[in-house]
Symmetry: D2
Subunit: 377 residues, 4 copies
Amino acid sequence: MTKLKWGMIGGGEGSQIGPAHRLGALADGRFEFVAGALDHRPEVGRAYAEKLGIVGDRAYGDWTEMLAGEKAREDRIDLVTVATPNATHFEITKAFLEAGFNVLCEKPMAMTVEEGEEIVRVAEKSGKICAVNYCYSAYPMVRQARAMVRNGEIGSVRLVVTNFSHGHHGGSTDADNPRIRWRYDPKVAGVSGQFADCGIHALHMASFICDDEVASLSADFVSTVAGRELEDDAMVNFRMSGGTVGRLWTSSVAIGRQHGFDIQIFGETGGLRWASEQPNQLIYTPAGQRTQIIEKGEGGLHEDARRLSRVSIAHPEGFPLAVANIYCELADAIAGHSRDGLPGAPAGARSIAAVHAAVASADADGAWIDARPPMYR
Amino acid sequence: MTKLKWGMIGGGEGSQIGPAHRLGALADGRFEFVAGALDHRPEVGRAYAEKLGIVGDRAYGDWTEMLAGEKAREDRIDLVTVATPNATHFEITKAFLEAGFNVLCEKPMAMTVEEGEEIVRVAEKSGKICAVNYCYSAYPMVRQARAMVRNGEIGSVRLVVTNFSHGHHGGSTDADNPRIRWRYDPKVAGVSGQFADCGIHALHMASFICDDEVASLSADFVSTVAGRELEDDAMVNFRMSGGTVGRLWTSSVAIGRQHGFDIQIFGETGGLRWASEQPNQLIYTPAGQRTQIIEKGEGGLHEDARRLSRVSIAHPEGFPLAVANIYCELADAIAGHSRDGLPGAPAGARSIAAVHAAVASADADGAWIDARPPMYR
Amino acid sequence: MTKLKWGMIGGGEGSQIGPAHRLGALADGRFEFVAGALDHRPEVGRAYAEKLGIVGDRAYGDWTEMLAGEKAREDRIDLVTVATPNATHFEITKAFLEAGFNVLCEKPMAMTVEEGEEIVRVAEKSGKICAVNYCYSAYPMVRQARAMVRNGEIGSVRLVVTNFSHGHHGGSTDADNPRIRWRYDPKVAGVSGQFADCGIHALHMASFICDDEVASLSADFVSTVAGRELEDDAMVNFRMSGGTVGRLWTSSVAIGRQHGFDIQIFGETGGLRWASEQPNQLIYTPAGQRTQIIEKGEGGLHEDARRLSRVSIAHPEGFPLAVANIYCELADAIAGHSRDGLPGAPAGARSIAAVHAAVASADADGAWIDARPPMYR
Amino acid sequence: MTKLKWGMIGGGEGSQIGPAHRLGALADGRFEFVAGALDHRPEVGRAYAEKLGIVGDRAYGDWTEMLAGEKAREDRIDLVTVATPNATHFEITKAFLEAGFNVLCEKPMAMTVEEGEEIVRVAEKSGKICAVNYCYSAYPMVRQARAMVRNGEIGSVRLVVTNFSHGHHGGSTDADNPRIRWRYDPKVAGVSGQFADCGIHALHMASFICDDEVASLSADFVSTVAGRELEDDAMVNFRMSGGTVGRLWTSSVAIGRQHGFDIQIFGETGGLRWASEQPNQLIYTPAGQRTQIIEKGEGGLHEDARRLSRVSIAHPEGFPLAVANIYCELADAIAGHSRDGLPGAPAGARSIAAVHAAVASADADGAWIDARPPMYR
C-alpha cells in the first residue's frame, strides 16, 4: 500500500483549518504530506512547510509556484487541498483542476453563482475529482441516515428540519472583536454572514441525507447585534425538487448553544434525528413503534456507516475523524472506487446559488426564490 | 379556609380534558366540585355529574340551565370552567362573564378576531376574572424564565425560538382516523389545524416569557399528508412589539417527537432553554460563562417559581400540576391577590388574531401581516 | 361514586409530607378528607384540621382520641394515613389495624425487626389493608418494568443495580444544620442514616420490580462528614432468593446529584433502565437488538402502567402523582379489587430487617448476613 | 520538527488495537511508523508491515528480531508500542527497557505482582519512559477533572464512584462465542475476567483523577452466565491512601449499556461527573450552587485539558484521539517535557496488585485486602 501524495494550499501556522486537514489526511495513514504553499507570506509558508517535514523544493512560496512545481514532477501530488481565504477558492481550484489535479476545496467553492457553475464545467471536463469539504456529511451516522432514506426505511420524505445555531458571536464584546467582526462585513465575507458560514452546512446536509436538491426557498435574515451589516440569525424555509418541505434555522447569537447542528428527517413511515454534539447515535422512530437508538459500530449498519468508523460500538469518534473520513473517501476515489458520498462541484455550486437566493429572498421580505444555479434549472 | 365552589361545562365521561381539569381543581384542596353540565346529552351529563358526587340539583342538563340555576343561588359557584367544543367557547364564556361569574376558558377563547375582542370588552366591563387555559405557562420553571427576563438577567431579548412538534398524526392510518381527521377539516376545526392546536401554545409562551406581544408574522403552512385541507406543519417567523425576533415551528407529522414543546430565549447577556418533556429544569447560560442547570425547588428561585411548586428539588412535577397551578392562581386571584401570570382575555384575543394572521400570511406566500387584534393596534 | 372517607395522623402545618399525602388522596377525587390528628400539639392540630375544612368533632387532638372517635362513628374513615415521626409508626399502625381500619403507613413501618413482624401478624389477623408508602413503586413506568419482568420479557433476572444518591447533606454547613443533623444521630434516627432514609426505597424497588426478596447482603457504610455517627454513604451488595445479584449505592454527599434514584435490571434476554428524574420513560434493550424508549402513555403498555397514568403520551406525570397512584390503588383495594402492587406489611417488615442486617454487616467489615425477618427464613 | 521514529509489536491485520495505535501515533504528525513485528506468524507480520509502508529490513518476524535489529541501528526507533497478547507484555517490555528503548505497553503491563514490580525497577534503572496505555485518562476533560481536584476546586475528596459496565457479553450465544469465551477462561485470561479487562480502567482513573492510590479493597465477584469460571460482574469497594472512599461496579452482562464508563468525584466543596460516551463535557457542581457544564475547548481550562484538544468548543473529539493524546504526551516526554499525566510503570504495577487483591477478596467473601504491591506498602 503506497501512500498517496498530498499537498495543501493555505492552512498556515496558527490557523485552525490547517491542523484539521493535516490530521484528516494523516490519521489513517493513506496520504503523506509532501507539498505545500501554506501562507500568503512566501517565506513564512516555506519555513512552516519545512518545519512540518516537507522537503525544501516542495515547500512553495505561493500557489502558482506550487502549481508549476508539481506539474513539472513525475511524482506529482495525488490530491491538493485548498484552504485559503474564501475569495481565492475559485481561482486556485480551477487552475489545479485544469492542470489535472484532484482537488479538495474548503467551502465555499466560489463566491458567485457563475463561478460555481464554471467549476462544475471545469471539473467535468478535467475528469478529476473536485470535492468540497462538507465534512459533517462524513460522520458515520449521517451516512447511515442517508442510506436508510435511500433504502426507503422512512418512506417518502415529507419534511426535513435542521438547525445550526451557536452563541459564540453573541457576547457583549463580540461586535467589536476583530476575529468576529469581519464575518458580518460584506466587504470581507461576501453577501451573507451566518447563513453562508454555518447554515449552508445544514442545507447541504438536508440535500445529502434526503438525496434531493433544494429547489426554492424563502428567507428571513436579521442582524441582532448593533452595527452588523450581514445577518447573524436566519430562518430559511425551502422546498426540495421531490416536494420535501425544509426548515432551517441558523444563528450565531443563540447564547448557550455550543454547536447546535442537528437535523431531523420525517418521512411517511418513520423519523430520524441526529445531532452533531452526539454524533455517534442516530435516533430512529418507525411510525407507530418505539423510538430506537442506532449506535455507531452496531451490527447491521449500512455499508458507508460501517466503512467510515474505526473503533467498536460506543467508543465515540468525533469531528476530526469526520474530516478524516473525507480523506478516506478521497483515497478510495483516487484508487478508482465509486464514492458517491463525496460532496462534489455540483453540491458546491448549488450551495452558492442557495446563499445568493436566500439573500435575495431576505431582501424581498421572504419572497420565494428559485435556489438552483441556472445550469440546473 | 373554606373551599371555593367550582363548576365545569363540558369534560364529560371519556374526554381527556375533563379529568385534567378536575385533577387541576381538586389537587391542592382549594376548590370543591359542586356544579356541572358535563355532556351535550343532558341525561348523560346529569348522570355523570352525580356519579362524580355532584348533588342532583346542580347536575345540570346544559349550560343555559346551569347559568340560570347558579345565578339563582346564594352559594353560587366561584369559578366555572368552559371545556366544551371550541365553537361554543365564545357564547358560554360571554354569558357567564356577563352574569358575574369568574371563568376559566379552554383555548381558543373564541373563533374569530371580533369575538375575541368582544370577550375582552365583556370581561373588562364585568370586573370578573376571565382566564384562558394556556397551562404550560404555569410550569414553575417557565415562571422562573419569565421572572429572569423581567429582571433583566439575560438583557434585552434579541431572539425567541420555539417548537411544538409531535408525530402523532403522521402514521399511515392517521389520515383516515376519525379522531384525527377532524383536526384538518376546516368545517370542524376552523381556519387552522396544527398551528391553532399546538403552535399557539408556543406563540403564547413566547409572549409570556418575553413579556411582550407578537406584532407581525410571516407563515409557511403545509399539509404533508394527502387529503388534509388544513396545515399539519407550519413555520411562523414573527416580530414582537419590542423588536424581538421570533421563530416558531410546529408539526404533527414529526414522527418520533412525542411532545416536542420547547422554547429558547436569547438576550444580550444570556440565554435560557426549557423543554416540556423535562419541565423541572431550566437551562441558563450567562454570556461568556458556563451553562447552568436551574432546578425546580432550588434555593433563590423567583417568587412565582417557588409558589407554584409543591415538592422538594428534583422530585418532578408534571403536566397535571401545571394545570393545577392555573387553579391555584385562580384561587389566589379570587381571594384578591394579584396574579399577573394568569393568561387573560387579552392573551386569548391576541392568540386568535395571530392564528388568523398566520392563515392570511400562508395564503399570501408568507407575506408579513399585522398579528394584533385591531383593538390593540 | 361516593367518595371514600380519609383521615391522617401527623402531617401538620409546615411538614412536607402532609401536603404530599393530601394531594395524593384528593387529586383523583376518590377520597374526601374528613378526620385528622395533625400535630403533636393538640390545639395546633385541631386548628389546622379545621383550617383544612375538617368539621370540628373530627379535628382530633391526638391519635388516641382519633382512634376512639372514629371507632365510635357509623361513618368512620375508610383509610387512615400515618405520617408521624418514625418511632411512633408501629404503635399507631398496630392500634388502627386492631380496631379494623385500613392503614397507609409512612416508611419505616416500625423500628425493630420484631415490631415489623408484629405488624405483619396483626395486619393478617385483622383482614384489613396495611400499606407502606414506598411510593416510587407506583410510577407507571416502574409498574411497566415489573410487568415486563414478570412476563419474562428480559428472561431470568441476573442482576439488579440501583442507586439513590443526592448531595443535599454534603455542604459545608450541613454538618451543623439542625434540619439535617438529626438524620445522622442514632438517638433520633435509629440504627441507620442514609441507607434507612433513601437506600431502602431502592432496595424495595429492586424487590418490587424483580418480584423477588432480598435474602442476604453485605454492606459498606461510611460517614464522610466529620461528626456524623451514622452513615451518609453506603454500598450494599445483596442476593435475592431466586439468585439475582444486587448492587445498591446510596449517598447524601454526592454533591451535584439532585435526586439520583435510578434502577437497572439485567436479565438473560434483555435489560431495563429507569431514573426517577425522568420517570416517564423506561429504557429497554432486548439482547442483541437496539435500545428502545418506552413512553408512558404509549399503546400496548401493561395494565398497571396504563391504569396509573392520567394524561397522554409525553405529558409528564411526576412525584406527587406517584403518591396519588398509591391512593388510587388503595381506593381500588378498598373497593375489593386485587391490587398486588401495593407494598404491604410483609414488604415493610422485610425492609426493616434489611436495614438491621446492613448495619450488622457494616459493623462486621462487610460480612454476608441473612437479610430476612426470622418469620420469612 | 523531525518526526520521531516509532515501531509496534503486535497489532497485526484484523486486530482492533493495531489500527487504534497507528491512528494514535500518526494523527498528529509527530511520529513516523518505521518498524514492526506485527504478527506471531513471522511471514504474515513482515508482509503486513511492508503493506503498511515499512521498509523491508525493519519489517521484522518477531520481537526478538526487532529488538536485535533496532539496537544495531543508528536511527533506532524512539518508541516501541507493545500490543501483543497479555501474557507476553512483561517479557517484551522488560527487554526493550533494558535495551534502552522508550516503551508504551498495552495494559496489563504484566500478569503477576512480582512481574509488575520488576518492570518498575527496570524502568527506573533504565531511565527510559515506560508508559501503560490507560488511554481514557488522556481525554481532555478527564485531565480537567484531575487538574480541578489538584487545584482544590472540590476540596478534599470524600468519595469516588465509577462504573465500567457494558452488555456485550450478555447475549444468549455469548457463552459459546469463542471471541468472548476466552475472557472468562483462567487458562487464557488469568485470574480475573471483567474486572481485569474493564474495571481496571475505572480503578486507574479513580487514582488518576484523585491523584491518590488505592490502599485496600473488598470485592464481590459473580459469574452470571453459566459455564464461566471468571467473573462477568464485579463490585469493588476501596479506600485510597488519603482516606477517600471508592465504589466501582463493572459488568459485561449489563444488556443495553454500550460503554458505560463513567466516574463521579465528590469532595467537600463540590462534585464532578464525567462519562465516556459524552467525553467532551465535564459536569461540575460547586457545593450550594448550580450544576455547570464545562465544555472541552472553552476558555480558562487547565493546561492539560487545553493542550490535549485539537478543535474548537463543541466539536467532539473521541476515543481514537484520546489514544493520540497518549502519543502526544509521549512525544513531549521524549522531547524532555515533563508529562506527569502519562500512566507509568508504577501505575501499571498498582493495577496488577489491585486485580490480585480483588480476586483474593472475592474468594474470601469480600474480606478487606491490602491492594498495594509490596514495594509500595
